[in-house]
Amino acid sequence: MINKESVIHTRNLSRSFGEILAVDRLSLAISRGEVFGLLGPNGAGKTTTVRLLAALLQPSSGEASIAGYQVGIDDQEIRRKIGLLPEAPGLYDGLTAEQNLAFYGAMYGVEEISQQIKRYLELLGLWNRRHEPVGTFSKGMRQKLAIARALLHEPEVLFLDEPTSSLDPQAARLVREFISDLKGKGRTIILCTHNLEEADRLCDRVAVLNGHLLALDSPIELRRRIFGRKVVFHLSATKTEFEPILLEFDFVNHVEQIENKIVVAVDDPDTHNPVLIRALVEAGAEIRFVGELRRRLEDVYLELMQASEGIINGTN
């Protein structure tokens, strides 16, 4: 599904505001069609990274390119290629939904603008409200309209800065589903979010930032890297201690038995599970259920944050 050709490249991309180093030597390569998550605490530099890539801010040092165009040199070209949903939707309250989009259609020089407006307003369920001033819209409606605005000119790269924050669960879900539908149409999406479940669900890869890059991988791989993979065996009530039996295998990294539940850390469950199951059965265990202990991306994130604070505190 993902074309390996990369559309976004950054090398040691940095940006400071006075004393504050908002983005610190960020090096990324993002593939065409990829949904790429930017995670990190408040002030981690997510928005600044997006603004740098959208050619709204100039880098203090380092470089970035979008679709082969260099930030700081080919800014006009970059702006044609990208769509941006900023942190604040920034719509004109005095204008109707349709007028807002028509204005942006003119800015992007969109041909067949009324068709595009209709298409996206319908997709996002705002078509019936198109003649109403945006000032009367709810937050969710505004957010949807701002997303429509970012897509009008069919950009190659779409930046979404916290698209679902401040939305109610239902509206957030709608927006999430919409993003999920956009996925796999060759469009590259950069998604800043504090919602880790959202990142888990939508993103092919995530970068965890805190000024500098803390980690970069697919959510599954990150989990594995931080916590390893763990298998859970649920047994019928038993008094036997199975820990010593399992620890005999050298691919077992860790075993923990709590009453009739055994959690085993292994490198490769696909090949090792059958071996473990046989050993347990031979030792008299009655296995009712086997599953993988899934850590949430949130746990990975919190672990990374703690580790990075540890490093900072450690050096002080």
Binding site: F17, Y92, R149
Partner: protein, 263 residues
């Protein structure tokens, strides 16, 4: 051009919804047209100056009063006295509109998505500028016509009122007026790029109206003689000043600066 047109229309739709802007744009020209007419009504009846001869007037006036007798020249002086006051209209209106449109976009955070589009800084500024200059110039011209019509009724001396359409005053209204609005817009753009409250932007810009008021007072007190030469000089100075101001306005209004300083 499409972009500039879209910006102008959008600006009008947005900014005139603001009561303060609407008030300034509609009432200021009305007041500046009505006030002189009221004063004229009480002081400028032809018969009041029946006895005045050319000899009673300051000598520099005679050069302006070709073809008029003493009484008419006196009237002419009173009637044209207020034209410079009119010159406040083309300065203040675009200042108000530009201040609200730029600072307004900063505070409602609509500027970021706009700056992310391929629209150029020049297109944004020309669009926003014209959105202020066009209503200002139209208001000035309409106001002037109303004033001329009112003066014609009150003074009822075609010799004097026809003088309002001399090349001198036509240059003032049709050339100096638009140049003044361009000045107003450029100043407002520069200040709006740096402040975050439209009222502050408007008030600081307002200081620059003072030279116009100064010229008006100078004329009223007889320190400045507003003749063809003076108006042409004024136009010349404004052309130079406008070019410099607009150049700096474009320089100051950079995407980078606006976004990195708006907090």
């Amino acid at each position: 051009m499409e972009r500039i047109k879209a910006i102008i229309i959008k600006e009008w739709r947005e900014v005139f919804k603001n009561r303060f802007v609407f008030f300034t744009v509609s009432f200021l020209p009305l007041m500046i047209t009505a006030l002189p007419l009221v004063i004229l009504f009480f002081t400028g009846r032809s018969e009041d100056f029946a006895g005045v001869t050319t000899a009673d007037l300051p000598p520099q006036f005679s050069s302006l009063c070709s073809g008029l007798d003493g009484a008419e020249c006196m009237l002419y002086f009173i009637v044209t006295q207020f034209i410079l006051l009119f010159m406040m209209v083309p300065v203040i209106i675009p200042m108000t509109i530009a201040s609200y449109s730029i600072v307004g976009e900063k505070t409602t955070r609509t500027l970021e998505p706009l700056l992310a589009t391929p629209v150029s800084t020049l297109e944004i500024l020309v669009g926003k500028g014209l959105a202020g200059v066009i209503p200002a110039v139209v208001a000035t011209w309409v106001g002037y016509l109303l004033y001329a019509a009112g003066a014609h009724i009150i003074v009822s001396n075609p010799h004097v009122v026809n003088k309002l359409f001399d090349p001198l005053w036509m240059t003032a209204i049709f050339v100096v007026g638009p140049l003044l609005s361009l000045m107003g817009v450029s100043i407002a753009v520069m200040i709006s790029s740096r402040v975050n409250d439209p009222r502050v932007a408007e008030q600081i810009s307002g200081i620059f109206v003072l030279p116009v008021v100064g010229i008006f007072l100078g004329q009223t007190t007889g320190l400045i003689l507003v003749n063809q030469e003076f108006i042409l000089w004024m136009a010349g100075v404004l052309v130079v000043l406008d070019s410099i101001l607009f150049y700096f306005a474009v320089q100051i209004f950079q995407r980078e600066t606006i976004l990195s300083r708006w907090k």
